[in-house]
Each structure stands twice: as structure tokens, then as C-alpha cells.
Homo-oligomer: 335 residues x 2
């Protein structure tokens, strides 16, 4: 949190913080009860199931404490909604627990709520419950996101089968580059990235956009899917392990943005970092052979590889040789 | 967290932590998918609505870092389930995000999971989703609890009416005394509390038991209700503010446990601390006049006062004079 409390700009108590800044985000959702009750009330649509995810973000780990409050708020919601998107779910609502290292300024809270408002409007959901606390640790935002799917239609992680084709939405590795540029804006030129490209990559890091538009094609055609958040190679390995299969992908077929391609042209070694970089918030899908044509026609996506019998992930470079990786992605818990 | 990682007792990575210690807590709930998917899947019963709450707990604020891991886990779930209980909801499931300041020992995690298992068995719910992260701050457990109510039957906070009678489950102030004794076990004798009483009070602080057994009578008869967690006087004030009414209660009618009564006999000043102490996790209810007899017959509870027109909370002492309080309860956010 960059702002600290000023005598003329302070917030008095938890109720003021919730009612003055957050309650407006619950408008339009009657079950939120204006954030004035102990609990939120959610009325499921008949014939639907609920899909739930909690994935907190903390300053110093998932974002920088001096990031714009709008961006911090956006990311906190987006990383949760991305998991819903990967399951074919429509976001409905979310609860948020905010742990603040000190009393924020009214300006900081206003901007934080504004970023959250932008994100929930983009994703189609409402804040329905909240809690605020002081913390001796870093600013932490713990969101639980709730979505819905038609009964029996959630796309699972553990259901990939050998010979399924693999696809990924959007582009991979942008956020890994964006993180480097967020740390050192001056590094762009040496990396072969122009100013517009650098700005794009930093935005990709700061404001992930969950791949909600894939929903219909995903539910219709995919046999398995998951969110790519800790690095493509690591997350593909998780999908394979859960499904009891292996995978082989071709690095040259993994979609890269124009600025990322420019950076890889300038430094081919970088490709491995993009494939393992994390923070992509794209959707990885396995599509059975009989559904590939319809899936590709519906989405315009091209396959990056396929599921194979066995276990483990092989990534082939442009020459057809297996790439090796110093690490395959992020594990926030490893010591 | 009292245990630190030893070479022979360490946990490798987030997946091991979730799968080795937490996944067993999802057994019996198919939609948890063994904690191996991105999201959990919840199938609402037809004719029900869902009631949701998130209320994280952190070391140094809500518990002591060196509390028994079983007790920490119990409390983390209980404080959330208590809110469901106050709404007349039946707990179904919960998601948990665990932020750990360092890699815990296997023994600590085993005991933590064991306490969580005890609590979820007592409350009738399952772990359906989880996340673990390292944190630069204190151990923090962020639970989102989900319950269900028959459609239209959630008991709200904002619906108390003048002349409703007020009731509270269990006893008030035990946890405030338990907290003092947790800090200074030697203080019991001077406070007029014997060893058995002290042990009881500390347990009341460490292991709150949500008042789930009030559910049927609550839904049948109460006009409004809320969880008492930040102090009876403060929380009653919130119920009144939400409902646009005031309240008058008689301190002598507020239920106290035998050890708390002994402490008040030894030091009458203590009564004010018990009425504002926090951590009670009992349910405060407003029951309309026509339903009082049936409510009292069903629950055995006696009224502690009533809702009145106007605003604010008046607490009368045994002589009928209005008590004054240095503070009415906890606001975790006030600076």
C-alpha cells in the first residue's frame, strides 16, 4: 500500500471502509444485502452447479506493493476468475477478505474499489461479502470466486486422454516479460522490445484478462482443461499427472505475442523462460480427436501438441529436439 | 507456527502439502474432486439457497502463533461456521487458503489437519478447495464457509422490530476471560477462578462451538439474528443500526457461565469487560412478541432485553442504571 493515513484523509473503522468504498460493488446483487449482514445469500439457478475457487494474492509475491491500486484490485479478482474460465463457468459473485498493513488513504481505497469495479464489470460478477482486517504482514487480498455451469458440464483437469490435441488461449509468456519490464523498464531496448511492445507486456502482467470468451467452445468440445498460471510446462505437467497421461508439445507452435516474438528473435534462450514463466492466466485445453475440427472452427486456435500415453511433458524445439528447463514453473510453496 | 522445517521432517512443495495433509478432509464430498482440480463443484439441493461467509484469522490477532495447531485449525473454521449458524444455515462445505510464514513440519501439518477434521466433523461440512502460499507475514487462514437454507428462510440482521425480545445462546464473556488466562495462567486465583473453571474458560477461547443446535428454532421464530463475535454490546449495536431501531438489555439477565459468575463476584467491574469482550461466537436473536412463548419453550432461553424504537444500545445494571463502557467491542480495523 503506497498511501499512508493522513489526518485529513483517514478512514474510521471497518464499517466505514466497507460501507464507504466496497458496498457500491454489491449494488445489483440483492443477496449481497448491501454487505450489511453476517453472510451473503446466493440463489442458484435451477439446473446449474456452482464452481468455486479461492486464490489469494499478496504484495511482494503476486504484485508489487506500489502497483496502482486499480491494477492490484483487478489482478486479485482476475486470477480467481481465470480458474472459473478454465472450467467453462460463468462468474456470478465473489467474497473478498482484505488484510491491510495500515489504514489506507481514502484515495487509495477509492482507486482500489474503482479497479475492482472495472474488473467485476468486465467479468460479469458482483462483490457479495467482505471482511477487512489489519495485518502485521503484507497487503493480502483473499478472494473466493463463484461461477455457475449447466449441470454436469464443468470441464475437469483429470479427464485428458491419449491422442487428445492440446490448445491454449491467447499468448504465453507475455506476463513473464512484463514482470521483468515492471522491475526494470530500461531493459526493453536491450531485449529487442520497442516502447509500445513494452507497455503491452507490462499491461499483460498487471491486468490479466481471463479467457471467458472460450466458454462455449470449451464446454462443447474440450475433454479436459485448466488455468495456466504457474508456467505452461508446469501446469501441463499437472494436467497430465491428474489424468494419468503424458504430453508432447512443439515450442514453435505455442502462441506468442508480437513483442514476445521480437524478444525471442533477439535472444532465442528466452523461449524457455516464456514457456515456464507463470502469470499467463490463459486456458489450456485437451480436445478429443473427433472434436478437433469443430473446436478449431469455433475458436480459430491451432494445436500446440498432443496428449500421449505414459507420463511427463516433452517440449520439442524447432529442430525436433527435447528442450530442458532449469525449472518448469512456479511453486509458491517450495522453500 | 511453532515448528520449523527439519531436514528429516520437511514438506516438498505445495502439491505435497495439499495432497498429503489436506486432501483427506475432502473425502466424502465428490465435488471437491480430491482437491486436484482448479475449482470445486457444488450441487445445490433444489429448493435451497446458499449462505456464504469469509472471515480470515491471523496469528497475533485472532490466535497465538504457538497455540496448538489443532486449536488454530478448529477456530479458523468455527468463526466462519458461527456466522452460518446465526443465519439458520446448515454448513455444507468450505474453501481454505493457508498462508504460511515458513515450511511447517509434517507434525505441525498433521496436527493442523487433525483439528480441522475434528471441526468439520462436528459442524457437518467438508473441505472442497484449498490454496497454500508462503507469506512474509503471520500465519493466516482464510476460510470461506458455505451453508444452505430452505429458500427464503435465511434469518437476517436488518429485520429487528421494536418490541422484539432479545435472546443470546450459550454464555457471554467466557472467551474474554479465557484470553486473559491464555496470556497469564497464573491470574486465575486472583480472579476468583478455580483450576477447572480456568481450563473451561481457556477452552471456550480456543475452541468456540458455533450454536448450530439453535437452527430450527431460529428459523421458525426469530425475526432477526447475528453472530456475536466482537462483543455483545457492539454487535447488538450493529443489529440495531442495520434494523433502524434501538435496544435495552439488562446486564443481570445476560447468561454467564459458572466460572465467569465467580470472576464477576470477585470483581464486579469485570462484568463490563465480559459484555464487550469479543470471541463469544454465540447467536443474538430478536424474536417478535407473538413468537416468544414458542421460542422459549423450544430453546429454554430467557430474554435478556428488548428492541425499542429509536437508536443505540442501553445496558442497565442490577440497580437499573445505564452502564457506560470504555469501548463496546472489537473493531479489527480501527487504527
Amino acid at each position: 500500500v503506497s498511501g499512508t493515513s493522513q489526518p485529513d484523509d483517514s478512514i474510521e473503522g471497518e464499517e466505514s471502509l466497507v460501507q464507504d468504498f466496497l458496498a457500491a460493488l454489491s449494488a445489483g446483487y440483492p443477496g449481497a444485502l448491501g454487505l450489511q449482514d453476517d453472510c451473503a445469500l446466493l440463489t442458484p439457478e435451477p439446473g446449474t452447479q456452482l464452481v468455486l475457487k479461492t486464490d489469494p494474492v499478496a504484495a511482494g509475491v503476486h504484485f508489487f506493493a506500489d502497483d496502482a491500486p486499480e491494477d492490484i484490485a483487478w489482478k486479485a479478482l482476475a486470477v480467481n476468475v481465470s480458474d472459473l474460465a478454465a472450467k467453462g463457468a460463468q462468474p456470478i459473485a465473489y467474497l473478498m477478505a482484505l488484510a491491510l498493513p495500515h489504514v489506507p488513504t481514502r484515495d487509495w481505497m477509492r482507486r482500489f474499489a474503482s479497479g475492482l469495479g472495472e474488473a467485476q464489470a468486465a467479468f460479469g460478477c458482483h462483490l457479495i461479502g467482505g471482511d477487512t482486517d489489519r495485518t502485521a504482514g503484507p497487503l493480502t487480498i483473499s478472494i473466493t470466486a463463484i461461477g455457475s455451469v449447466p449441470e454436469g458440464r464443468m470441464v475437469r483437469r483429470a479427464t485428458a486422454r491419449a491422442s487428445d490435441r492440446l490448445y491454449v488461449t491467447g499468448s504465453i509468456g507475455d506476463a513473464a516479460l512484463g514482470l521483468r519490464l515492471r522491475r526494470d523498464a530500461g531493459a526493453a531496448a536491450a531485449m529487442g522490445i520497442d516502447a509500445a511492445g513494452a507497455a503491452y507486456l507490462v499491461q499483460r502482467y498487471l491486468r490479466p484478462r481471463p479467457a471467458l470468451s472460450i466458454r462455449d467452445a470449451l464446454r462443447e468440445h474440450a475433454g479436459a482443461a485448466m488455468d495456466v498460471s504457474d508456467g505452461l510446462v508446469k501446469d501441463l505437467g499437472r494436467l497430465c499427472a491428474a489424468s494419468g497421461v503424458g504430453a508432447r508439445i512443439e515450442a514453435a507452435r505455442v502462441p506468442l505475442s508480437a513483442p514476445a516474438r521480437a524478444a525471442v528473435r533477439a535472444n532465442p534462450q528466452l523461449l524457455a523462460d516464456l514457456l515456464t514463466g507463470g502469470d499467463d492466466y490463459e486456458v489450456l485445453m485437451a480436445v478429443p480427436p473427433g472434436k478437433q475440427a469443430a473446436f478449431e472452427a469455433a475458436t480459430g486456435l491451432l494445436s500446440i501438441g498432443q496428449i500421449v500415453a505414459g507420463s511427463g511433458v516433452t517440449v520439442l524445439d524447432a529442430a525436433g529436439a527435447a528442450m530442458t528447463f532449469a525449472r518448469t514453473g512456479w511453486d509458491h510453496f517450495s522453500s
